[in-house]
């Protein structure tokens, strides 16, 4: 080939433009809209930067500080064997918080999920009320729930478990009710036509359909809760977060790096195990949509 397509097209540029005017016409309206949206986005960003005292000097000195911190983090070390044991225990606490919190939330949310499903309990007002109620639990961050529960059961991982359970109860209630609403009605009708009671219909028609979906969602939340449980200690609700908070406050950067590494490894292990379990259960590894 002596002439590439590109060269041929470039040679006939004027001809192409006259033959296909619509393709080459500038889209002025679209461009103006894009510009306005971009200007709005950037403008708000600039306003925020001014309001929050962003400055290049501050950014520069902060970044320089960060670089020194990273330098001080090497090599990561727990300090002493005794501290390492303490950290391991805190990590176990973190896992316990995530596990028990998720499980409790799922158990409590299961009946509520049935109640909130349109096809199990009809009634628009009831449905609306229960959904908004779940939203209240969901809308408050787990750290805030931890603060509330600390006032009730005192400092420690127990408060963390309760906080995790409260925050996830809302999320599970919503997800479960959606899973139940998406279930196929035919198996339930089949059970009813074979002479089963409504309870039989739920047990043999509905539950086998929704249980794998729910289990997969629970595992997905277990993963995300492992991440949240690592920081719940910042407010005193147990787990490795408390140690992380203390070490950052006292500038023990080597120990900070070690703790972060411990968290990263734990999260990776939990993700791996949970992905395998999910795959075994429903034959796919992605989180449910």
């Amino acid at each position: 080939m002596t002439r590439s397509l590109r060269e041929a097209a470039l040679a006939d540029r004027a001809g192409l433009i006259t033959r296909h005017p619509r393709v080459f016409a500038a889209d002025h309206r679209g461009r103006a809209l894009t510009l306005v949206i971009l200007a709005g986005l950037v403008g708000l960003m600039l306003f925020g930067g001014l309001r929050f005292d962003f400055s290049l000097a501050r950014l520069g000195s902060g970044l320089a500080q960060l670089a020194t911190f990273v330098g001080l983090m090497l090599p990561p070390t727990p300090g002493s064997l005794a501290r390492f044991v303490v950290y391991l225990h805190a990590l176990a606490e973190t896992l316990a918080i995530a596990f028990l919190g998720t499980l409790t939330a799922a158990l409590v949310a299961l009946p509520v999920g049935f109640l909130a499903a349109k096809n199990v309990v009809p009634g628009r007002l009831f449905h609306f009320g229960i959904r908004r109620g779940l939203d209240v639990f969901r809308g408050v961050d787990v750290l805030i729930w931890a603060l509330v529960w600390i006032n009730v059961v005192g400092l420690g991982p127990f408060a963390g478990i309760l906080a995790m359970a409260t925050a996830d109860f809302g999320a599970f209630g919503k997800l479960f009710s959606e899973a139940i609403e998406a279930a196929d009605r035919k198996p339930v009708e089949g059970v009813a036509s074979a002479g089963g009671s409504p309870l039989h219909g739920v047990r043999f028609g509905l539950l086998p359909q929704v249980l794998p979906v729910m289990a997969s969602q629970i595992l997905y939340y277990l993963e995300s809760n492992t991440r949240s449980a690592t920081i719940i200690g910042v407010v005193g609700a147990g787990g490795i977060g408390l140690h992380l908070y203390e070490q950052i406050r006292t500038f023990e950067w080597q120990q900070v790096a070690f703790l972060v590494l411990m968290i990263l490894v734990t999260v990776a292990v939990i993700d791996f195990v949970s992905a395998r379990l999910r795959f075994l259960m429903i034959g796919r590894a992605e989180p449910p949509a």
Binding site: L5, R6, A9, L44, M45, F47, G48, R51, F52, D53, F54, R58, G62, L63, Q65, L66, F69, H89, A92, E93, L95, A96, F99, L100, L103, D135, V136, G139, V140, D141, L143, I144, L147, V148, N151, V152, V153, G154, G156, P157, F158, G160, I161, R227, S228, T230, I231, V234, V235, G238, G241, L244, Y245, I248, R249, F251, V260, I263, L264, A268
Partner: protein
């Protein structure tokens, strides 16, 4: 009943019934084993987690008291004044809430911009170099796995107290989370436009600009909006570690046992979060509808 119903020979029936019973028994054994493992795990976790039902039961009245104390004294006769008394600090709380929204907005936009640049480098269908893929993906994973609060704690030390470290912490975490989502969107695109554009001799950047970006932009925007929703929630607790927003006021009210202040701030947070949820949902539906039309 239908007389045509045939009955299997007894031997055949017995064999099938036995097989059925064996299959059910195997499933039961599996379920029992699973429940046993679960029970052991629960007991172990309960021990480590200092679960104490007795303390829980003994302190449950405190929980109800706490909830009761959170409820402000509202009377029908004097509702307006009571509400004004409950939300006495609404001006400063409102300002803090707007700051929280601004932190979430700036963090989301900055993080999304960074993720936009990195996502193409983390997509296996656009980048052939395994080293680049590996490095970008691990970097995104790090940003996503370290919790925002930890970044905020470190940034507060480096940049000083205030909303700025909060914005940066949200931005870094968003970069990691959105980078992964964006890369997944990019990996699912139709490759024909990419082939078409690269066949004209376009550079890599040109290919991405004209073949990839038009396909993924609506999806990117939808993901970023969803992330904004999440970031509003996390920006609300940034104040716990001194990184700006409403969290500071909330923490102070909780620590000092100003019960009605706690509930007033919580109500304001919940209302704001719900409003943002509704608004982004409408926007996202319009975005996806808009992309469907084209």
């Amino acid at each position: 009943m239908a007389p045509a119903l045939t009955r299997l020979p007894d031997a055949e029936l017995a064999r099938l019934a036995a097989a059925y019973r064996a299959a059910v028994a195997a499933r039961r054994r599996q379920t029992l084993l699973f429940l046993a493992v679960l029970a052991v795990l629960v007991l172990a976790a309960a021990r480590v987690g200092e679960v104490d039902p007795a303390r829980f039961a003994a302190n449950l009245p405190r929980f109800t008291h706490y909830i009761r104390d959170l409820v402000p004294p509202l009377t029908w006769a004097n509702l307006g004044a009571d509400l004004a008394e409950w939300f006495w600090g609404w001006k400063s709380w409102g300002r803090q809430l707007l700051d929280t929204l601004l932190i979430a907005y700036m963090g989301t936009l900055a993080g999304a911009a960074g993720a936009f640049c990195l996502a193409f480098l983390a997509s296996a269908n656009l980048v052939r170099s395994r080293a680049v893929l590996f490095a970008t993906r691990r970097f995104l994973e790090f940003c996503r796995t370290v919790p925002e609060i930890v970044f905020a704690l470190v940034f507060v030390v480096a940049f000083g107290l205030g909303p700025m470290p909060g914005v940066l912490a949200v931005a870094v975490h968003t970069l990691g989370a959105l980078g992964k989502l964006f890369a997944e969107v990019v990996e699912n695109i139709d490759m024909k436009p990419v082939e078409g554009v690269s066949a004209t001799g376009a550079t890599w950047v040109g290919t991405v600009r004209f073949a990839v970006v038009p396909q993924v932009l609506p999806n990117f925007a939808s993901c970023a909006l969803l992330r904004f929703e999440i970031n509003v929630r996390s920006a609300a607790v940034m104040g716990f570690v001194g990184a700006g927003g409403i969290g500071q006021d909330l923490l102070e009210a909780v620590r000092k046992f100003y019960y009605t202040d706690v509930s007033a701030i919580l109500v304001m947070i919940i209302l704001t979060v719900s409003a943002i949820d509704l608004a982004t949902e409408v926007l996202r539906h319009r975005l996806i509808g808009w992309s469907g039309e084209r």
